[in-house]
Symmetry: D3
Subunit: 137 residues, 6 copies
């Protein structure tokens, strides 16, 4: 396997992982970056998913809990949070667990970040017909 072949292999592996958990959003990432930074698209997929996400040390559901925490804390990552709320639903987190993670965020990064993240979750849930959320209360 040459370096070029390996590069392709990791990319293919990452694309398979990303498409599986994101419900087939891989091509959209590639397309949006094709004419400006194809290498960033490549690395998002090949490294982020082909190297890291696929590792068995954390199952996808658990990775999503960590990721929702990080994106909520960072702020200004609404586009990425949208993808990851969708992905979280795809890998088995419930709407109630997702909004609870964002409530937990209020105490660690403050209410504004928690409110902004929850607004993104609401949009995603609405688009998937998951409102109102049954939080068991």
């Amino acid at each position: 396997m040459t370096e070029h072949e390996d590069r392709q292999a990791r990319y293919d592996r990452g694309m398979a992982v990303f498409n599986e958990v994101s419900g087939g959003q891989g091509q959209a990432v590639i397309d949006s970056l094709a004419d400006v930074s194809p290498e960033l698209a490549h690395q998002t997929i090949a490294w982020g998913f082909g190297e890291i996400y696929r590792r068995p040390q954390l199952v996808p559901r658990d990775r999503q809990l960590v990721t929702i925490g990080m994106l909520t804390a960072l702020g200004g990552c609404e586009a990425q949070l949208r993808v990851h709320v969708n992905t979280s639903l795809n890998v088995g987190l419930t709407p109630a667990e997702i909004v609870e993670a964002m409530l937990q965020a209020a105490g660690y990064c403050g209410f504004p970040r928690a409110l902004n993240a929850t607004a993104v979750a609401k949009e995603v849930f609405a688009a998937r017909g998951l409102l109102p959320v049954d939080t068991g209360e």
Copy 2:
């Protein structure tokens, strides 16, 4: 008083505080979260205003100076800053004091954050007919 009654009491107290300083924005917060995370709405009001904001150790005007500093520094909190610029005006800060706090922010969190916050202030001032700001210069 049962736990449930107390929970309601704190909420009622927080809603009264929030409505007073925000000019009646409490129901909008509740409504926006009702079908996605009612607990986040509850805690924003019951804890943020019923437990913390109402404390006498800082008057509302002073809390708003702190809060404008924090929201400007955090970045990506335009929605919350909009509420708090309005609230700041309601509790006695002048437009000139608000924009001066954001000018002070340039030195502590940089010009981009100061410029973004000032753009929000401008929107709020415009909606309330407070432009141009008389900064005494």
Copy 3:
């Protein structure tokens, strides 16, 4: 139940939750703040653990995954991360899962944050005799 009694009840509830998951660190939090900001200590325990953490919508293990993500992303929270790495071990996360969450963080908040968090994890694992971590590789 008077307001004062309820305040105490929430605090007691939070202290029980925090002590259970943190291995009895509650008094240390209270002591460290007793002469400077007892209310901050009270709210950390009574609200953070007596209101939020105890909710059944996310089990402690899942809350810790979210929290590790947030503290890693925030940066500059080494003291809190130390408590939460300990807590994470107490509620069932393995060392391998914790460092994997921090590896995942490299892609979402960058390698410096991931490296700083992992250094804290290493300290905690060392103190508990958990090195070397068996990451299955």
Copy 4:
């Protein structure tokens, strides 16, 4: 020279520097802040460009590399990044160098920040007819 004259001199100097590197965007900054915070506009120009940017210790191209790194890392500075991607092109950075700086950012502040910055770069490049970027790959 009186204090007032000096204040004007620094402003004029800053406006000349900013207009040269930004392609004449100075008046837009002044206009956008004229009725809300003229002092913030003044200091952006007089201090940011009349005092700092004009210093010979770093040439404009190098300042732009630093600035793109900072704005990408901060997040939530899309408006400022737009100005600075334009400025970067004006002072000699190529589109390929700009997107490479943002790819480098993926490793230091994470992919979400890198992706958001690259989306801004894409908009600017599109408006200037610079797509597709020739990254030499």
Copy 5:
């Protein structure tokens, strides 16, 4: 007045302002940067205090409330927070008001930032013999 003379005048003005509010810490700032970045020291004093802080639109006490909010929100600014807690006391904020501002911060930037800032306040209060804080509770 030549450009050089004016530069000196602003610096002198800033040094007078900074020394007054900080209790004479100006020379320490200058000394610490003298052999590495004298221009950063100059601008901290000449711009930060000679241009901005001295403006009458906010009194020093109010600037300190904003600044405590910002430094708490930024995180990782313990050294600057130490100076500003001292300055806050010098310009009339009480220990109880300072810790209340940091309690308010818990809701806007999360408990970890609030706890870290309060730890700095505690150090400063201890050094000035101001513990325990009388928070009126």
Copy 6:
């Protein structure tokens, strides 16, 4: 080339790049993480330097300008900044250029971040006998 061989090849390539620009610090990174997160060490080297840093689209000197900007803006990355100030000197940035980049940072992320970064630079310069910095003033 098998997947394992390729993994090793990227690592070797990254280690060569990192050692060249950092003056041989590669093994220290590996050693510090060996018993806690060897995969994080691997990816820091194999991906960060074997995939990204080695790309010809930006020369090392330019990557360091971007990186200094990012690490200064992030805050709380003193350990990484120490490595990168050293690396910056190794790849041709002068002490005067490095401190000027950090002065530029004052305007974009505020004086506290600029001051903290400059303190790290001062330590590195002192250890290499480069004080006082000749800033040409």
